[in-house]
Symmetry: C2
Subunit: 343 residues, 2 copies
């Protein structure tokens, strides 16, 4: 398994929804190296995370199809003949989901039905790996959180992501579409959206450090989280996509040791050699959906496919800081493909 | 509490979505008796369960507004000044949800957002009681099922009902809209849709017995279920709607002792003095979403508001059989209000 799952992708036809986004594009880079036939589907909705610069250097080795995965006839066409679909498209902002719950419903629920219905009717032999989220658990009853923890989301995005995940497991059980869900914790690394701060704090903290600015921590910064470097997250998708051991199941994909916000920021500022930190009151709309301490137990996924996080926070931060030092402008003002110099 | 919750409704302005349906109309009858100001909202989508005959005899004491709860501006208007909303509108067929998941998503998710957003913006002091379902649990890991059981639905309808429920709990926690969910098991009684068999087996069994026909049991009929007579279910809504003890929580609302399909049908045929039973193979599409034995532990709800089921299966069946003996034609061919003789 450990070696095989990588050779599995040689000449394999795969599709990544959200393929121009943060995790999707990093996954695409690994797949290209493994010799896969890679189709990237992305809606390029502004501010969601799709960015043509994310595929700079591999643009000749992937096919890009701009499309909204809610669009049924398009999905019916695109899913055909794909062996594996990495299903990463989604609206990922908790805050946006509370301001406009209807759009979140469309993007995170309807779109999953259109992909799964397309597979059911036009490619029932496919394997689908869904990008789930630790957010479905809400505020933990116990730590580390296992998959036996109740699903009790604290925001609209978490509720809709839970429904999207459940559709996948259901289509596995009822219609035989092999599907699983990876419940990711806090993923960070190169190619993450850092233009605004509505998609989680980690990208925003890194950008602020690189810019030498002021990082604001809400409250006393004691809350614990675990973090996954994006190459480790991509490795999780590769393993799940090559294995029938995951069919019909949801798995935690969490980081190494949990760390407090306070220590996290201290490490980040130290490595960046720039920036500073202040502690501020929780904004009301964020406090209302905060979950306190969270870190995941990933032993179920480790037992299924042998995955474990390899990249330390120190090493991951170093790589990420170096990336944004060089390319930050590409993320502050993303441009269409013809201006990104890749077409 | 025990006495107070009924007097609470005197002159109280309440709204029932799905108010012309099975549980909604039986609840309306109790509310009218208690002196409430009752607004019934129903989409009258064919085959969903809305039936003007359900309010025969109380038609002068309620106000009916035909509307689709997905329609935002309508809901913005209708929720104003209501003290309690009993939110029972929904698509309730498991089978239909698997054939057309998009419509189920619209009816069971989008519509809940439009009600809750309307309350958030135009009536934040309201109390909302949502009609949840035991279906969110899927196939039980243990019996009786408590609210600590994982939510793991086996059909699209269950997934979407779980999302609809979670929206309610979320709007309670984040926006202060007092809301709770009652996870009903198998509710039966007068005024249930019996025109087709896609809304669960119990109404269909009763109709078949009344018609002297053949009841088909799938498999050996050993699977256990619990049943709630509709007046007991209505009493559960009344108690929850009058109490802040339920805010932000989901509660099981189950029946007395569980009973096997086989014994259930034997009792029904005995009381009806008509009909017969045969045992047939499970149809594939139903077997795929069957959940085996299920019965609920309702002690959490009992502790919160003192509810317990009062009507035995024997007594409930007797009342239900008598009702359909008299009125079956009104349910086989429902007619508009002007033909139902009520306007």
């Amino acid at each position: 398994m450990t070696a095989d799952y990588r050779s599995f992708y040689r000449h394999r036809k795969v599709m990544i929804t959200g393929g121009l986004g943060f995790i999707g594009s990093n996954l695409a880079r690994q797949l290209v190296e493994l010799g896969a036939d890679v189709l990237l589907v992305d809606s390029m909705i502004p501010d969601y995370g799709g960015n043509f610069f994310n595929i700079q250097g591999i643009e000749d080795r992937v096919r890009v199809n701009v499309a909204d995965i809610r669009q049924e006839s398009t999905m019916n066409y695109l899913v055909r003949n794909r062996a594996v679909i990495f299903n990463l498209a989604g609206q990922v902002s908790h805050i946006d989901s509370m301001r406009d719950p209807y759009t979140d419903l469309e993007i995170n629920c309807r779109s999953q039905l259109s992909i799964l219905e397309a597979c059911r009717r036009h490619n029932p032999d496919v394997r689908v790996v869904f990008a789930g989220t630790r957010q479905v658990y809400g505020k933990p009853d116990f730590l580390p959180v296992t998959e036996r923890h109740l699903v009790s989301p604290t925001d609209v995005n978490g509720i809709n992501k839970a429904a999207g995940e459940n559709y996948h497991l259901l289509y596995n059980h009822v219609f035989g579409i092999r599907a699983c869900s990876l419940r990711l914790t806090n993923v960070y690394g190169p190619r993450q959206l850092v233009k605004h701060n509505r998609q989680g704090f980690i990208g925003w903290f890194i950008r602020t450090a690189v810019e030498g600015g002021e990082i604001q921590i809400y409250g006393d910064g004691s809350q614990l989280r675990d973090f996954v470097y994006v190459d480790d997250a991509a490795d999780a998708f590769l393993r799940a996509g090559a294995s029938d051991a995951c069919n019909g199941e949801a798995f935690n994909v969490g980081g190494q040791s949990p760390i407090s916000h306070r220590e996290l920021v201290a490490l980040l500022l130290d490595l960046a050699g720039a920036g500073r930190v202040t502690f501020v009151e929780w904004p009301a709309e964020k406090k209302a959906i905060d979950i306190g301490n969270f870190y995941a137990d990933s032993s179920k996924f480790n037992a299924a496919v042998g995955w474990e996080p390899k990249v330390s926070l120190r090493e991951g931060f170093e790589r990420t800081i170096a990336f944004y030092r060089e390319h930050l402008a590409r993320y502050l003002n993303p441009v269409p493909e013809d201006l990104a110099g890749i077409l």
